[in-house]
Symmetry: C2
Subunit: 663 residues, 2 copies
């Protein structure tokens, strides 16, 4: 029997699809169009019961969540299928929402655009060089009209001038962005793009200005272009890794967790424990949105929700040895479905390996020079999602001091628009000849569902505030206090750097014997500019989660997504603010901590053709959870284990080699 | 002829001391007491001239800066000695300041305290167990009286109950803190410490409450205490490192720099260039201060300036292979002096090695799954300073995308005070039985002396601000602009997260051909709570640099230290605010960018006995400095180079092994 949070197996996916088809009395595969079949997670109460009783005494039914269309209807439907007993438990049409994008329709729209006569006719007017190809990226349409009900894609178009499989078409944006209906595959509107600094669009498509693309494909760059002085750096684990894998239950250095994976979120950490003590029920990247700051139509609609619209799991790369990680690597697979509901195996969508992050802790006794230190060994669980042009690398990183880091790296290719040579726009930066990269924001939300010492938990914030005007107590004015505020009102909260405000999860019933304080884990947040767009805009109304850095909600099953379940062409955020609006008290109960953060990306030529990674790290750190440094028991670093090598040339005398930190 | 910024050689140190002795007509070594002999850096104008003409055409005299006492005077003296021509160019007494701490007086004060009859008599009253030893840490005294002119040390005292060379005496703080005069070695005051939650001090020293220390020495912990499942992780560079060292001139992956080192600052990067283009004249950690938030005497005076009072170079660890770095390591040495002016060799005070920091950049073409990626190889130049109980690890980290990171890790042992068992104090956390760790701030200042494209440079800040109330331009309200402000007024400036305010150095005369913007490097700051103590306090008056996160000043030779040259027992900060008070315009000239940042450290039991590192990273990133991604020329990652190994157990089928990101 699988772990209750184990992703569906291929067989379970087939069983779920089959049960639904049977329930709907569908006999032809053309009468149904599957979009997503994923695990429908059991109620938390049930899973916690499973954790705490003998696993054999409780049988949790396996269930699938299915998004699909009953053709020819355009209405998205959602079904919950009990796979264990082959029964459809829920099945409903959800009017007025758009489901996420899937690869089937993505390919269909792309093809419809490429093949459309009007598109071809306009492309001809460009008089591209002989052999040039034209490609397009269908984009989630965004929202600028509350009455729009069609399922639309905006196709941004590009040229390719060579046959290389990695030709950088983003370096040759074309001034077209036709809109297609994904259900009918009809051209809804042929939009042309401004190429100057303002809104003006040429009256007629003009011949293309010849330009050289900026390439990143190794095959298109001269051999002499590359650095030739980078020497190999090899990481080996001669005795194997320190982790242990049983299915998707992983143990490493006192940590244990169940590695979940969903089409929407990619990797998820479930039931995270340290030394047997429960820390978190579920830690995940919940949502992200990327609004662009160029007001010129159609750019005003550009606002991807790369989890809700596309899915970080669905767009995950198949990772490869020697590329995405370095050292001794374990991989985990995923599953998506075809339009017919058949499972498609996605190999190596998650990698896991150990890294050395320098000094973990160190102290030297100055009286005798004796030093002790441990290295900072970490376990990295990582995925890369490619959302058309952009790449996001998400990693959960565990360390030996019981810290859990959530790392996000933004890389890939910035979204590009055409701009006439020599012209610049205030809405972005010219990153290559004829290429405008519009300024934008990447706004993420991480969801932390705590279970510290099995709960109930509270969330509080601590402010460091100076003592003022208490001369008796503080004659020299140096004193400061930690002022704690327990949050009982769900909603959005602000960081406050001026008081080092720190949000933390505590278990008020579990008191640290040393400090006398309740056990806790604090959030090291990423202080960020929130979404800039105002409350009247579709941008913010769709992504309210990005209006406040911290959210606290009362737990409810199924409330996993910061901007709500359906974000594609959404008109409002049905996530955090709605959960909070129930006004259910959040203190000493089952509460959830959410952190929204991100970067305002003012683009640079240095971001092109592929952008050097921009990294953000959120960390959860124990505070009075343990009675001493949890990494005090890590074996001390020594040359016998580390086997470093000495660079000899800089030695000024043989005597210096004798220095040792640890004997 | 050495590089003009090369630290003094042992011979030059001897020559400088000798020239000064001769000048002063000193014949007996007891008539002079040397504290510091270090390079007196030549004027920037001269060094720049040296860079830009043939080095043989210019001869820059080598000079030493000497801090010393002409005994028996207590007045600190400062001399500038031209070593090249053996001439004392300046020599003056500096009344009313205290020079930095040196190891000679540290040892003298420590001994004076240990041996003093009154101290011994009070220790006896504690009735420590047989065999117990008593040790003390002489602390820079701090300031609470504008009229104090003596050179004082506050000796915090601890017990040691075993013979281990790494016995953790910080776990057994004693309730004494006698004050000694460092010149006379006399006991000035025998202060006793509060042991309750308030100020109250017992009328008479009471017998010690037996307690077990919390130890970190491997020899004192049971073998079974340690984790036994950490497997070795070995980093090798079979073809050697990618760096090249010529003396202290280092080249690595298009970077070149001269590795400076001073007694006060530790490692310094001079003349930093990328691909031959000048970036920075000098990058350094300039100062730090650590005020404590406990108002109870004598804790109100605890405020270390670990660069100005002690010296990050002077307190640097001798690093050891297999401990402080992992992989292929080069080391560099330093020099300090004895009281007699003799050079003392400090082996391995700086280490340098390459690390792999995961994915540098990546893009996958979703049309065919073809991916390109480069790894993020970095060069780390690192030192560890032990300032009594605490350790600071400073690292300059260069990467292939032309980013320069300045990393600070705080580790070591928190400063501990006695507290009665079962009692807690609002001023800190009980981190072990009978051990209070007071809350405090670590406030650093990094100095960036730019020379982008050989200057002149300006410093500006960019704010990302939404367009509001321009419906014609921005009908849907999504637009935002980047508003730039060039700084011409020296002084302190604020960060503003609400506009993603970014400070950057630009060269207004050097325009990027692609973006049309001036070349620049931007500062990724560490947004932090500034010093909490108010403007009337000695804390802030001594550390004004920590009142604002950003400072801009007009360059002037010798202005290297954020809190001024002499911080020990200082009464006011003679650094940034004074430099700024000259009101010299800072635009399009030789300007300097300073960044103050830090952490407010609310202590945890998890920080004891040795604290897991707390890391802060400041980054300088090119922005329109290059015409494309500077790491586009890094050889693509491939298994042939990386030689990673596959964890086999998780493979579900043989077919999955074929995935490749790069052929």
């Amino acid at each position: 029997m699988p772990h209750p949070l184990e992703p569906l197996s291929p067989q379970e996916v087939r069983q779920a699809a089959s049960a639904l088809r049977k329930h709907l009395q569908i006999t032809s595969s053309t009468d149904i169009r599957f979009k997503v079949i994923d695990l429908f997670e059991p109620p938390k109460a049930q899973v916690l019961q499973y954790f705490h009783v003998s696993a054999s005494d409780i049988r949790i039914h396996r269930k699938a969540r299915i998004y699909y269309h009953k053709k020819p209807s355009q209405v998205l439907r959602k079904a919950i299928v009990n796979v264990t007993v082959a029964k459809v438990e829920e099945d409903e049409g959800i009017p007025d929402v758009q489901g996420p994008v899937d690869w089937v329709e993505f390919a269909q729209v792309e093809e419809a655009c490429n093949d459309h006569p009007l598109v071809k006719k306009e492309v001809e007017k460009l008089k591209l060089p002989a052999g040039a190809k034209v490609v397009n990226d269908p984009w989630a349409y965004g929202t600028d009209d509350a009455n729009e009900r069609r399922r639309l894609f905006q196709c941004y178009m590009y040229a390719i001038l060579n046959d290389d499989p990695e030709a950088n078409h983003y370096s040759l944006p074309l001034p077209f962005a036709p809109i297609f209906d994904a259900h009918t595959l009809e051209l809804v509107n042929f939009e042309r793009l401004p190429e100057g600094e303002g809104k003006e669009i040429d009256a007629e498509t003009q011949p293309w200005t010849p330009k050289e693309p900026v390439e990143y494909s190794e095959r298109l760059l001269e051999k002499t272009y590359f650095r030739n002085d980078l020497k190999p750096l090899v990481i080996t684990q001669p005795e194997g890794p320190s982790f242990n894998i049983q299915g998707r239950c992983i143990s490493w250095q006192k940590w244990t967790f169940q590695l979940g994976w969903t089409i929407r979120e990619g990797p998820v950490l479930n039931d995270v424990r340290y030394d047997g003590r429960s820390l978190f029920y579920r830690v995940s990247l919940s949502e992200m949105t990327v609004p662009y700051g160029d007001p010129r139509s159609p750019y005003h609609r550009k606002q991807a929700f790369d989890l809700g619209d596309s899915g970080f799991g669905l767009t995950s790369n198949t990772l490869a040895l020697g590329c995405d990680c370095l050292g001794h690597i374990a991989y985990f697979d995923g599953i998506r479905v075809t339009g017919e509901g058949e499972p498609v195996h996605m190999p190596n969508v998650v990698c896991m390996h150990e890294v050395d992050q320098g000094i973990g802790w160190k102290h030297t006794n100055v009286r005798n020079g004796q030093a002790s230190m441990v290295r900072d060994r970490q376990l990295v669980i990582q995925s890369t999602a490619t959302v058309a042009n952009y790449e996001y690398i998400v990693a959960f990183v565990l360390d030996q001091a019981a810290n859990l880091h959530i790392e996000l790296k933004a890389t890939g290719i910035v979204s590009t628009m055409p701009i006439r040579p020599g012209v610049h726009s205030e809405w972005g930066t010219t990153v290559a000849p004829g290429v405008l990269a519009v300024n934008h924001q990447h706004l993420f939300c991480v969801r932390v569902d705590p279970n510290l010492d099995n709960g109930p938990n509270s969330i509080q914030y601590d402010d460091c505030v100076p003592v003022r005007n208490e001369p008796e107590l503080d004659p020299f004015g140096c004193a400061f206090r930690v002022k704690s505020t327990v949050i009982d009102q769900p909603g959005g909260y602000d960081l406050d750097l001026s008081s080092s405000r720190t949000f933390k999860v505590i278990n008020p019933s579990s008191v640290n014997a040393i400090s006398g304080k309740p056990v806790g884990y604090k959030l090291h947040a990423v202080p960020s500019q929130m979404m800039m767009m105002g409350p009247e805009t579709f941008n913010l109304r769709r992504g309210l989660f990005a209006s406040k850095p911290i959210w606290v909600t009362k737990y409810r099953d199924g409330e996993l997504y910061a901007a709500g379940e359906f974000t594609n062409q959404s008109r409002e955020d049905t996530g955090l603010a709605k959960f909070a609006a129930r006004k259910e008290g959040t203190a000493k109960t089952d509460c959830v901590l959410w952190h929204s953060f991100g970067i305002t990306h003012v683009t640079r030529p240095e971001d092109f053709p592929v952008m050097p990674n921009e990294k953000m790290t959120v960390t959860l750190k124990p505070t009075s959870f343990f009675e001493s440094n949890p990494s005090n028991d890590v074996p001390r670093s020594s040359q016998a284990l580390n086997r470093s090598t000495l660079h000899q040339e800089v030695r000024s005398s043989a005597g210096q080699k004798e220095a040792k930190c640890h004997l």
